[in-house]
């Protein structure tokens, strides 16, 4: 009798909502300039994932001011040119099948809001590694300045390159 009850409850448990929380994050943007390439790193991302009926919706938000390039002057200029005081967050939304948690690579469609603009990136590849109870995801978002209508900063009259790839290193744990 007990076994029948347990077996009957399995489909209900499988369809039950589950949640993920972003445990750790490292986001790194890279800006290319002939004389002065630079990177800025943020560990300030917060994220949550909600899974329902086999589909998971994720939201990650990173304060623009949390990016640190090691140069306070450059960081202030970055905040100014990306209008980070007016639009203080970078938000990333994506929806993935719950089964992707078991895959070694996933391809995600991303909706990113940054500098007052919204850009969509299709099928961005990410590596997935299970580490104990946590899921470690790494990849690079191929962002560009023109995607977000950002005027390219310049140094010694030379502008930086349009590509600003963002390396992503996220550790999620089930809540």
């Amino acid at each position: 009798m007990l076994i029948v009850v347990l077996l009957a409850s399995l489909p209900v448990l499988a369809a039950a909502d589950s949640q993920w929380v972003l445990q750790q994050s490292t986001l790194t943007y890279h800006v290319s300039h002939p004389l002065h390439p630079s990177e800025g790193v943020s560990h300030g991302a917060k994220g949550k994932g909600v899974c329902h009926a086999g589909q998971c919706e994720f939201l990650i938000a990173v304060p623009v001011k949390s990016f640190d390039s090691g140069d306070s002057n450059r960081d202030l200029h970055m905040i100014q040119v990306t209008r980070g005081a007016e639009f203080p967050l970078v938000t990333v939304r994506t929806r993935l099948p719950e089964s992707d948690a078991a895959a070694s690579t996933i391809n995600a469609d991303l909706e990113i809001q940054f500098a007052g603009q919204t850009a969509h990136y299709k099928q961005v590849p990410f590596k997935v590694e299970k580490q104990g109870g946590e899921t470690h995801i790494t990849g690079t978002i191929p962002a560009t300045l023109t995607d977000f209508k950002i005027d390219p900063p310049s140094l010694l009259t030379m502008p930086v390159k349009n590509d600003i790839p963002v390396r992503v290193d996220l550790t999620w744990r089930p809540q």
Binding site: K46, E57, I79, T94, K122
Partner: protein
């Protein structure tokens, strides 16, 4: 040819060049247009004032944006260059309201009120009006997490138009500082180059005159460069890190040096004109000038090249 020019004419020419350079550099960065006023009130469906709503005016011609927040009475005011704008009204908990086109006149203030409806909004930004039909594109289902679920502080989520305006002004002034600094290196290098024929055993007054005139031009351009750096707004709470610390430290050498060098130079100039050998404190003009130029060059390189 310049050798035959009297010192006064040469000085006048160099002054005129300095003014032309300044106008060329500053004019594009300080575009002056007639300014108009846009004001109004932002309220909800019941007519109640919405405080701390963000009102963004985007120039249809240039894409430039300016934002103001409403006060406790729901009113806002924007001062904008005359032209055509798109206005966007946003507030947490409300859907975005947009006026797609409004003309701002320099003569008559424009009153534009915003009416907001209750609804979901993300990050104080306009909800996208178009979205590609991506197979795994995020949906707007009710199970989707929202910003309020992430535990971010109001300071992290709320935009600050005043702070953005401060940053814009700071960048604007530092851009002029950067350009003027580069321009200053030209007469600085010329002054140093000419100095080899201006002093020592040389008896030519033409080289001395040219050296003095170039030195004067360098000093004037340096002053303008320094002005924009000193007057650029500071951002409260920012701790200086990185090459900017060295860049600013060099100013404590080339700043006093740019004052001392011409003073010693005038003394040396007078002694040479009297047919005397440069002596005493005036003989420090050369080493002080070299140290000043070296500090200036180091300051420039520290923020230009990654070492």
């Amino acid at each position: 040819m310049l050798r035959n020019w009297p010192c006064k004419q040469l000085g006048t020419l160099l002054w005129s060049l300095a003014v032309c350079v300044l106008v060329q550099v500053a004019a594009p960065l300080t575009a002056q247009t007639s300014t108009g006023v846009v004001r109004g009130t932002v309220g909800d469906e019941s007519g109640k004032a919405v405080r701390n709503a963000s009102v963004t005016a985007t120039s249809i011609d240039t894409g430039q944006k300016q934002t103001a927040n409403t006060g406790s009475d729901g009113t806002y005011k924007l001062e904008l260059p005359a032209g055509d704008y798109r206005l966007t009204f946003e507030a947490t908990g409300f859907t975005t309201f947009e006026i797609s086109s409004a003309t701002v006149s320099a003569t008559v203030p424009v009153v534009l009120d915003g009416k907001l409806e209750k609804g979901e909004q993300v990050n104080g930004q306009a909800t996208p009006t178009q979205q590609e039909n991506l197979p795994n594109a995020p949906s707007s289902s009710t199970t989707a997490p929202s910003l309020s679920d992430l535990g971010l502080t109001p300071e992290q989520t709320q935009g600050n138009a005043r702070e953005q305006a401060l940053l814009d002004k700071r960048t604007h002034m530092l851009k002029i500082h950067q350009r003027m600094g580069l321009i200053t290196t030209i007469p600085l290098i010329a002054t140093v180059a000419i100095s080899f024929n201006a002093g020592g055993k040389s008896t030519s007054s033409a080289s001395r005159d040219l050296h003095a005139a170039l030195g004067g031009l360098t000093g004037d351009l340096y002053g303008i460069t320094a002005y924009y750096a000193i007057r650029a707004p500071r951002v409260p709470g920012t701790k200086k890190r990185g090459p900017i610390k060295f860049h600013e430290a060099m100013a404590w050498i080339h700043g006093p040096g740019m004052i001392l060098t011409p003073i010693l130079g005038i003394m040396a100039f007078d002694e040479k004109n009297k047919g005397e050998k440069v002596h005493g404190i005036a003989s420090a003009h050369n080493p002080v000038a070299i140290v000043t130029a070296g500090a200036f060059g180091a300051a420039l390189l520290s923020v230009s090249v990654k070492f």
